[in-house]
Each structure stands twice: as C-alpha cells, then as structure tokens.
C-alpha cells in the first residue's frame, strides 16, 4: 500500500504557527505542487470555451474585431502614423501582447475569489491560483498568433533577425501581468472594489500603451530627458518590442526599455511578497 506514497522527502515534520513579519516565498511547496499548476491551467483551458458556439474561435475573433475598430478610429478618423507598416498588422501585432496582458490581470485579479471553495477547504500554495489563470491565457495568445503569421505572409513581411528577442518581450509582458495580477488578487480578497477597478484599469492602461499609435508620438511630446516617464509602463516596451522584431517597425523606447524591465521586476517581487504575506488570511476572509 505504501508503494504509492510520495518520496520520503515529504514525510518530514512541519510546524504550524502564526507567521510574523515578511513571509518567505516557500518555493519548495510550489515545486511539490507543480502538477497542480499544470492541472489548473489545463482545467481553465478546457472549460474556457465550453458551451460556446464559436469555441476557440473567440480567441481569434476578439483581436480581429478590435483591430477593425481601431483601424477606423485611429486610422481613418484620427489619421495617426504607423511608420509605414500596414495599419491592420500594425494594430494586430500590438493587440496580441496587450490582450494577453489585460486578460491575464483581470483573470488573475478575480482568481482567488472565484476559487474560494478550494481555498477554504484544502491547502496548497495559493500562488498557484493566479499563476495558472495567467498561464491559461497563453493558449489564446498562441491561437491568435497563428492569424498574425497569416497576415505577415499576406503583407509579405518577414520577421527581423532580432526575432529571438520575442520570447523575452513575451516574458516581460507576463512578468508584469503576474506582478499586477498578484497585487489585484490579494487585494480583491479584502476589497471587492477591485472587481470594479479592473475594467477601468485595463481601459486606461490600454490607452496609455502604444497599440494604435507609435510610442514615438508620446516620446516626442515629452520634454527632453523625460522619456523614462512613459517607459514606466512596461507594456510600452513589450508592444514596441513585438512590432520591432516581427514587423521591423522602428523602436523608440530604446535604452528606456531597462526602466520597463525594472518596473516589471519591482511589480513582480513586491506582488509576490504582498501576496505571500496576505496568504495566511485568505481562507478566513475570501
């Protein structure tokens, strides 16, 4: 009967006592429960489009419709420059990382409250909940990415030699999303205001990100030496980077990308510690 027991490493004694001060990250438990990350991600993916007519088609339809609206609004009406890149693909390439990010923060932000019944019944590292809700969004991203490849072929645009940077930009986006997601998720446990805050946050954040316009438009309007201000939004670097390595569109964020990276790391680390220190009360207050 004991054959099915997990490795003896788990047989050791653990002490349950009130935690004081800054919590440790307890990555060991996260590792022990790694399969749960996989299962929860897999569950979210599986049920995402259950009982919908279009199924995974929504992953394509959403960015495509957004792209059309953006074209009319910002192209035909506002006439913003795209730096020579065809507007549909200019917008679409930006919408991909943006949608990944915005779905991630709103899913992660609500994740703890929606898995309330698990949190109040069994122990597992709570970090898994927002983490897996973010990971499951990557599938939508991958599906929508296929359309982008199709568009690139149609417009005859080849990716630049810097394409190897793409995963790094993606990572930057996910890091930011996880950082913000952790803050929102933990706050949402105590203050359900977060639920109402999230739509505004994503809306304003979207306008503050260079999706329909070039980051240049903003950088040019900022006084000399104030470019870092715009780069505080890590999504500027992510979106610019995406367009740069995929479409060869000129990158304006340049050096200030490091500010984006720094902000993302600060968000993630502070989010992790805040989340961990709040974790002890999740089951009581959620």
């Amino acid at each position: 009967m004991n054959a099915a027991q997990p490795a003896s490493a788990e047989m050791n004694t653990f002490t349950i006592k009130p935690q004081k001060g800054l919590a440790s990250l307890n990555l060991r438990d996260l590792w022990l429960f790694r399969e749960l990350i996989y299962f929860l991600t897999w569950r979210d993916i599986k049920v995402r489009y259950k009982q919908t007519l279009l199924g995974a088609g929504w992953a394509i339809l959403q960015p495509v419709l957004q792209m059309l609206v953006f074209n009319v609004l910002f192209g035909d009406l506002a006439g913003l420059s795209t730096g020579g890149v065809p507007r549909p693909i200019f917008t679409y390439a930006a919408l991909l990382p943006w949608n990944l990010f915005s779905t991630a923060i709103s899913d992660a932000g609500r994740s703890l409250v929606t898995s309330r019944n698990m949190i109040t019944k069994v122990y597992f590292p709570r970090l898994i909940v927002p983490l897996s809700s973010i990971l499951s969004g990557v599938v939508d991203f991958a599906i929508a990415f296929v359309i982008l490849i199709g568009m690139m072929i149609y417009y005859g645009i080849a990716p630049t030699s810097a394409i190897w940077l793409l995963p790094l930009y993606l990572l930057l986006g996910l890091t930011t999303a996880l950082g913000v997601g952790l803050w929102l998720a933990a706050l949402n446990v105590h203050y359900r205001d977060v639920r109402y805050l999230i739509p505004f946050l994503t809306q304003f954040w979207m306008l503050a990100s260079p999706i329909a316009y070039l980051a240049k438009e903003v950088f040019d309007r900022l006084p000399e030496g104030w470019g870092w201000l715009y780069a505080l939004n890590p999504m500027v670097g992510v979106i610019e980077g995406f367009r740069n390595v995929l479409l060869g569109s000129e990158i304006y964020s340049g050096e200030v990308i490091w500010i984006s990276v720094l902000v993302a790391v600060v968000l993630l680390v502070s989010g992790l510690f805040y989340f961990r220190s709040m974790e002890r009360t999740f089951a009581d207050t959620v």
Binding site: F33, E35, I119, V122
Partner: protein, 425 residues
C-alpha cells in the same frame, strides 16, 4: 522515542466578526497614529472589517500518536472545523503551534475543485491533484476510484449531468483513495444514501486499520464510536473532555440536556409560528406516577405531553421520537396513531390537553435515551418540533438476564418466553 503524528500546544484562532469598532477614548494622538498607519492597514485589509473578535479556538493542546484514531466531538460552532482547518494548513492559527509529521490529507469537504463542465474522468485527475495526489498515483488508482463510486458508465460525461448522488459518490471516492499518513475527516459521511454511507464507513475503518493516523469529526456518534478509540470534546473552542470514545460520547450527550425527567419550554424557546400550538411540558413518569429521570427496564414508563391550543386545529398529531443517546431513532409514535383516537381527536378543540402513552415493561435496554417531540398536521404544517427535548436513563436492575453482569447489546431488552425441551435423538 515516542512517535507523534500530531502535537498541538496552546493552539488558538481568533476571528473578526462584524460589528462596530470600539470608538471610546479616541484621542487626537490615537487618531493621528491611525491616520499615519492608514496605508499599512489598507494593505493588510484591516479597513474593511475593523470589528470585534472572537476566539473560535483557544488553548487547545493534545498529542496524537502515529496510527491513532482520534474523534473530535462538539456542537456546531464549538471549533471542530477550525481545528481541522488549522491542522490541514488551510488557515493559520493566531497563537500556539502544532507539529505535524507526514502528509495530511483533508476531507473537509468532498468534491473540492470539481468543475461541472469537465467529465468524471477529468475531474478525478483534477480533484486528485487538488488533494495533493501525484498524477501517477491517480492513474494507478483510477479504476478503483471509478468502481468504488459506481459511475463507470458515465465516466466521460460532464459531471454537471450527474445526479447529486453520483456526484457525491465520485467526489468521496477520489478523496477516500487518497493515502496520506494523516487523514483529517469532517462530516463526509453525511453524503449519499444508506448503502453508500455503509461503504464509506467501511472504507474509513480500512484506513484506520491500515495504521494511519486519523482525525475524525462527525455528528454521527455511532460512526465516531465505531471508528475511534479516543475522543476529545470541544466546547466554545476549548477541550472540555478528553477520554476514551465511549466516555467522551456519553459526556457529550449528557451535557446540555435537562436531566430532571421533565422538560418545559420558556416563551422565548417557542417559535412565533408555533401558534396556535403551545407546548407546556414533556415528562417521563415511573409506574408510581413520579416524574423521574431514571426508570427501570423491568417496569413500564409513562410519557406525557402537556400542551395548549389557542384555536382548534384540524388533523393535529402530537408525538415523540425516541432516540438513543447516539441519535439512532428507536421509534416514532403519535397520539392519534390508533384509528379510534384519530376519529375522536382528528380535529381538536381549543384548550389544554395531555397526551399520554406507556412504554411497556421489559422493553428498552439499559442506557441513555432522548425524547424528541413533534406537533404537526400531516402534509399541512409542522407547529412545533424539538428534536432533543428530554433525556432519561433506563436502568437494567432486575431485568431479564441480569444474572450475567455483562452489558447487553441491542436497543430492546425483551423478556421472551423461552421454552427449553429435551429432544430425543
């Protein structure tokens, strides 16, 4: 060296409950200090609920050896669930500490993590992972789990199409196949039909016999008695009794009951919607007419219910449930059971009544019994109901078979007319 599975010392858990924060004696200095600490309190979530606190658990200490099975008994809100939640690491204690050796599997509620859109098969894997099982472990036990739950035909159907019975069976089955060193169980046996409950109990005793450490909470006293040897009784968050299970159960069941042989109801114990029925008293009398809390098995006993009707009631029946101290019902009986009395008292006028019945001699076995009371009009309305109104003891003194001192098994202790004949071979 003694091998402890769980050691608990001075464990306590404080909860905030709703209500107003104390506002007396707030000085300007306090206010400034509070204002200055505002961002901190905001982040700690203390703005939304700065309120009174209660101790759900306080000063709880006990040791549990490896392989021991401990029952936890207590009324609702006594702190049982809080204790289990702390030990299974769902929530943190406010003070004290616990040392736990080995993997803890908790069955605080079955079906945790089940997703209605996923099939039975998918949910087994998902739920298993939530409970801390490895994928391989689940795969090896998969057939066993499905068979135990008896849902093999529907294993690829989304569980939202399952009947609630099937759903619970599957959920319990996954949880029951978890094989942790320490199993923490709360009330899971309340699920499913009688047949499945028997299966669950069987599974639980397998677990207990396999030498695992089990912490078992249930309202089902016979399950507690069957599965555990030691038990603690919790009341208002504290351990009030710790002994062998039999003793602890008796302690628990006897506490909080009126022991005088008579139960009366004060005005605030009678719900407003009981009118026009008003219970006055429930009594147990010995054959000499004395109200008694202990009666003899060899003598008959009288049960009487006194009540008042402020208006006539159609189809009223007033009756009792006789239960053992462990909550098993021995019988249910109403005053209008007999056709004759039913005809005469089917519609009862306003006024004061006394319904009496006799339990014959040589009928109940020794032990503690509890009377519940019910006044209702069948399929129309229940006027008054008190599941555990009065406890009394039956003493076996002088009962048949008392020449042998051993306790007799069974609820009844009849005097049967045995005939013994010598048979020619």
């Amino acid at each position: 060296m003694t091998d402890y599975a769980i050691r608990v010392a001075g464990l306590g858990k404080q909860y905030r409950i709703g209500g107003q924060a104390e506002t007396r004696y707030r000085t300007l200095r306090d206010s400034i200090a509070r204002a200055a600490s505002w961002p901190g309190r905001l982040l700690r979530g203390e703005l939304a609920d700065n309120a009174q606190t209660i101790w759900a658990l306080r000063d709880v200490s006990f040791d549990l050896l490896k392989g021991q099975v401990l029952g936890v008994i207590g009324r609702n809100g006594a702190g049982k669930s809080t204790l289990l939640k702390i030990l299974s690491r769902v929530t943190e204690p406010t003070e004290g500490y616990a040392e736990v050796t080995g993997r803890v599997g908790s069955l605080l509620e079955v079906g945790t993590g089940f997703h209605p859109e996923l099939s039975g098969r998918e949910n087994i894997f998902l739920n298993g992972a939530v409970l801390g099982m490895r994928r391989q472990e689940i795969a090896t036990k998969f057939d066993e789990i499905v068979e135990f739950a008896g849902v093999s035909q529907f294993i690829d159907t989304p569980v939202k199409r399952y009947s609630s019975g099937m759903y619970l069976r599957l959920a319990f089955s996954v949880a029951a196949h978890l094989e942790p060193e320490i199993l923490v169980v709360d009330e899971v046996l309340a699920v499913g039909d009688a047949e499945f409950q028997r299966k669950c109990l069987g599974k639980m005793s397998d677990v207990a016999e396999a030498g695992r450490t089990v912490l078992f909470v249930s309202h089902n006293m016979s399950a507690i008695l069957r599965l555990t040897e030691q038990a603690i009784v919790l009341d208002h968050g504290q351990i009030v009794h710790s002994a062998s299970t039999r003793e602890a159960v008796d302690y628990y069941m006897a506490s909080g009951f009126s022991q005088s042989g008579e139960r009366t109801w004060s005005a605030d114990e009678i719900p407003a919607d009981a009118a026009p029925f008003k219970p006055i008293a429930l009594r147990v009398r010995d054959p000499r007419g004395k109200v008694a809390d202990t009666v003899l098995s060899k003598e008959p006993l009288d049960i009487e219910i006194e009540y008042e009707l402020s208006e006539p009631i159609q189809g009223l029946r007033v009756g009792v449930y006789l239960q053992t101290i462990r909550g098993e019902i021995v019988f249910t009986s109403f005053d209008t059971d007999a056709p004759k009395t039913y005809e005469k008292f089917g519609s009862r006028a306003a006024g004061r009544f006394l319904s009496q019945a006799q339990i014959p001699a040589n009928w109940l076995n020794e032990g503690q019994y509890v009377l519940g009371m019910n006044a209702s009009a069948f399929r129309v309305r229940r006027f008054f109901y008190d599941e555990r109104a009065l406890a009394f003891n039956v003493d076996a003194m002088g009962a048949p078979g008392m020449q042998w001192t051993e306790p007799r098994q069974g609820l009844v202790r009849p005097q049967l007319d045995w005939a013994i004949k010598k048979v020619k071979v």
